[in-house]
């Protein structure tokens, strides 16, 4: 990694690593690195939010630590947990050691018995600051969001039995959200914010070509045009860029060189993920095939 002076360096790097980013996103990433503030990326599913974190960790040549959020995510799964089985064994082994209860307790609540979950892992990383990706934060409960506030501002975690653990290196934090619910203002205020939208025609073609260098121009154009047309419809599940890539890939795997009726019917499952959408578009088949 060269010393970062200007966002342009990042653009070049991302480009080399098959990530097509618009300038705004790059500026946000640049600020994330320079100001050391967490970056909140919002946007529809499949536009490369998670990928951005991955690429950033490659740029920094550091570890990517990922925490996938879900409803009911709690401290035990996100921060740390005691290794209960090992603790039970530990107590057994000490049975005849003549240690006092306090000493035994001190022993089984030591680092040896601690299972580090992503968040604790991220702040105890010793070599260099890792990239911490907190994915799909909107799926977690509000309680967890409130807990994050503390972590994101102080970068320390308190474990009652051990005391407070301070970050050796402040991790670079990227949070992503699909906006299925509004995140709290308090959290947003601690973060830089960027909204990633579906890319335009040109950009999307660029992305697909980057990912699938072997794709033929005609197929590429057709695929992207169709997807862009699909997005204009009111679908239950709007396809993202990752679906576009999947679709193009499956078409290529089946040896199609253009999108025709048969190709559509065979591969539609990789772009449209709901039966209603498929049946809706099947009725408008003819129009689509003739207009584009």
């Amino acid at each position: 990694m060269e010393a970062l002076q200007h966002p342009d360096q990042l653009i070049r790097f991302l480009d080399e690593h098959k990530y097509v980013a618009d300038e705004e996103l790059v500026t946000s990433l640049f600020l994330l690195l320079k100001l050391h503030k967490p970056l909140l990326l919002e946007g529809p599913p499949g536009v490369g939010k998670t990928e951005a974190a991955l690429v950033l960790s490659q740029w920094l040549d550091t570890k990517l630590i990922r925490l996938q959020c879900y409803e009911g995510l709690d401290i035990n799964a996100a921060v740390y947990e005691w290794n209960y089985q090992k603790q039970l064994l530990g107590i057994r082994l000490q049975e005849n050691s003549g240690l006092s209860v306090e000493e035994k307790e001190h022993h089984i609540f030591s680092n040896e018995y601690l299972l580090k979950r992503p968040l604790l892992q991220a702040i105890t990383e010793t070599e260099k600051p890792p990239v911490l990706l907190i994915d799909e934060l909107d799926r977690s409960d509000e309680e967890f969001e409130a807990f994050l506030l503390e972590l994101l501002s102080a970068f320390q975690i308190t474990i009652p039995e051990l005391g407070t653990i301070k970050a050796v290196h402040k991790p670079y934090v990227i949070l992503t959200s699909n906006r299925t619910r509004e995140l709290s203002d308090a959290l947003k205020r601690r973060c830089l914010y960027h909204w990633i939208d579906y890319p335009g025609l040109e950009t999307e073609m660029q992305i697909v070509r980057k990912r699938l260098p072997g794709i033929e121009q005609q197929l590429l154009e057709q695929v992207v045009q169709y997807v862009q047309a699909f997005r204009q419809r009111k679908l239950a599940k709007t396809p993202g860029v990752s679906e576009t890539i999947d679709w193009a890939e499956s078409l290529m795997a089946l040896g199609y060189r253009e999108v025709n009726r048969q190709a559509m019917e065979q591969t539609l499952g990789s772009i449209l993920k709901s039966t209603e959408d498929i049946s809706l578009l099947k009725t408008e088949w003819e129009d689509l095939l003739t207009t584009t």
Partner: protein
Amino acid sequence: MIKQQAYQTSSLSEGIVAFAQFARSHGLHVGIQETQDALQAASLGLLDDRNLFRQSLKALFCTSPEERQVFEKLFVLFWDTNPTDLEERKGKATVQGSFNKKANASLVMLGMGKSDAPEEEAKNVSGANQQERLKKTDLSKLNEMESEELEAIARKLCRQMAVRMRRRMKQHRRLGQLNLRRTIRRSIAFGGEPLDLYFRMQTPKKQRLIVMLDVSGSMDKYSYFLLRFICALRENFRQLEAFVFSTSLKRITKALQPQRLDMVLQTLSEQADNWSSGTRIGECLQHFNDKYGKRMLNGSPVVLVLSDGLDTGDAAVLGAELRRIQQRSKRLIWLNPLKGMQGYQPLARGMQAALPSIDDFRSAHNLESLLELENLLANA
């Protein structure tokens, strides 16, 4: 005084600070921290390039796609205004109007224009009989005096209701998962034998509630109280989203605070015609589904619709959209003030179309019927 344009400031730092104030005055959440960060970003050499500068400030100042749009306008307005063409610009639309934060305040005008503050306690309630009578009185048949009294009663009862519902939730708690951590810690004294088991308490899941209130002309007499009622509900359901609709749908969640409610109620709106013209329930529900559905209907909330079902739009749309909502909600409750009338039959076209998707169809014509909702919501 807030400087409105960049040319009024003498240095770049001053410009940034002024811009932060300018943005704040237009509803963006820009605090001292953000301003500091902006200055720091400026010192990183992000200034040479105008685009970079704009993007940096955008990442720092905005917290939602809507705010990002507003920001673009504000940025141009602040940095690009030339003193010479200021005269022309003055007449142009300000950004303020387009930002929904402010729009919320300019909501409502209902049948009763009340001026006195609602803070007074329930002092002039004259005995139990009167109370009981008022509770049963149809909301549309109240006079000014009575409505004040009823409001006081309502506030008291709603508060009690909120407390009761919370208590009920606590009693519902059962033993949850085994708390391994504590169990093991306490077992040390017994040589690792987990003699005492400790459990993790099951925290009651907070039910989310979405309320949609019909404020069209036909509901005029009721909407005032119903709005108050929603406000009382909010004290119990912290995660409550509220909407009003008639010809169009409007989100009022943020305006829905007891101290702001009177302001909401009294602010004469430019959209006052909403309140008296026809109702397009179907279209409003469609708007809800398209714009908010994804975000708000996750995790199966309870949906409460307060409407008389007199629809001037397409009944088929109403039916289909309501079904979509019902499929994603835990329970769809429809409260219809007309149902309290003797001999009422849900014959209106809109009501007919809606009925198949409704889980609970209730009346909402007096306070008592509203309070019955407690049982429904507590068991939801």
